[in-house]
Symmetry: C2
Subunit: 267 residues, 2 copies
């Protein structure tokens, strides 16, 4: 009898948990959170692979990295031309529109101190560069996916924070609901938990801002005013998050205007 009861209870509890899990995964915000986490990883992955390719290719043509601006152009040249003998002006101009620089590169390629590449080496390197470029493409597609989703799910919040920063804040908070329930002082220090708890424990200075520091308006303000600006920004973000979650109104524009006015005052 006892056993039967326990069995019944167990089943009911499993049912309840299942429901909760389903509930948790029902919102659209979970996709944004997963996407922005992936985005961060892709960024670090890209840098890691780029560094490897740069190091490897520099055996063959060490001068190139100084002559080209931008990782993507560099990768493009490596992927498409690779061997130094291919680096004549016409070929370079097909992937790099800077005429003056292209001439310089072509000239340097002829007298480079790098060692020659074999066919199989250049094949490996150029394939890697290609992969790296296509990762960048994926990153950009993911970025615009996040932007459109954020625009739809949290219009007011996004118009103030921007899509990527907004998505990061959302990811740290866990869900739109949790974000809407947060007081603005919490939003202000999201991502600076370490400094915050150090403050609470040892009495050191409290953090002025967490990841909202990445916001362009905050960077424009003078250093001594950043704490003030961060507080204002967090205030507006908190209002916007509540609007997005509870209401149908979108006062994002008005909030942003107020924020910009404040930024001008504190500049």
């Amino acid at each position: 009898m006892q056993r039967k009861k326990i069995e019944k209870l167990r089943k009911e509890l499993i049912q309840k948990t299942k429901k909760k899990v389903i509930e948790h995964y029902k919102g659209r915000d979970i996709h944004i959170i997963r996407a922005v986490n992936t985005l961060e990883d892709i960024d670090s992955v890209f840098n890691l692979l780029f560094e490897d390719i740069r190091e490897w290719y520099s055996v063959h043509f060490p001068e190139l990295e100084r002559l080209v601006k931008g990782n993507e152009t560099y990768l493009m040249l490596v992927a498409k031309l690779c061997n130094r003998t291919e680096f004549n002006k016409e070929n370079i101009l097909a992937y790099y529109s800077n005429k003056e620089q292209a001439e310089k590169i072509a000239k340097t390629a002829k007298k480079s101190i790098g060692s020659p590449l074999k066919e199989k080496d250049s094949k490996r390197i150029s394939k890697l560069a290609e992969k790296c470029l296509s990762l960048k493409k994926q990153r950009n597609a993911l970025c615009s996916y996040i932007e459109s989703e954020m625009q739809k799910q949290m219009p007011a919040f996004t118009s103030i924070a921007g899509a990527i920063l907004g998505a990061r804040l959302l990811s740290e908070a866990g869900s739109i609901e949790k974000l809407a329930m947060m007081p603005s002082s919490t939003i202000q220090v999201i991502g600076a938990e370490k400094a915050l708890f150090r403050h609470l424990k040892t009495g050191s200075k409290p953090p002025k801002h967490g990841i909202i520091f990445q916001h362009p308006l905050l960077r424009r303000v003078k250093r001594k005013n950043r704490g003030k600006m961060a507080r204002t920004l967090a205030n507006k973000l908190s209002i916007a998050a509540k609007e997005d979650f509870f209401g149908k109104k979108n006062n994002g524009k008005k909030l942003l205007e107020e924020l910009e006015k404040k930024a001008r005052e504190l500049q």
Copy 2:
């Protein structure tokens, strides 16, 4: 006059440095080193991205990861089918040959507790899975590149250590020459520098092995005999490296046989 002399000296020194740099990058071993470093990075990159994809896709179909063996099969199913409605038996069997398991997956897909995916979500996830798979392909191509290069540059060493482990040892040593100059006791603890210097400083136990621990013969031996086996392995590796660098003879086979005999004794 003085200035002229300095200028001349400077130019000569630059010439000399240039020569040295060229010398350093002339060997074929530098390509192996760069390639094996890239290989390690690709491995960690793959794991990172796989984890992201798994987490994201689990919002839609959390049961799948337990039902499929192997990351690549999982990614293949996500990339090709993605939406749960596509998971019928025929579709699954196209990418996963296990008939019994395929049936199970198809059944689970129908009653999964995951939330539905929109078109745009599934597009993002499947593209990411595709990228991840193509990274794996690149990894394998790089792997066989390293194998063929190691076979050519260090035949004896490779026949004992294996291509990838051999390339890692080469990468830690810096060049074939440096590896050939190393005493076997150094080869034994390559990669365990931290433990070695702790031993020298504080008198703690010395490390028994560095990255040669990855060698299959070493893992087969009883725990208490591992130090002995590591010493023997390092001995043979050191002999092989010297053969590869100085001589034209390849005694790799003989060395390997001796090693295997020792392993049987110590088992």
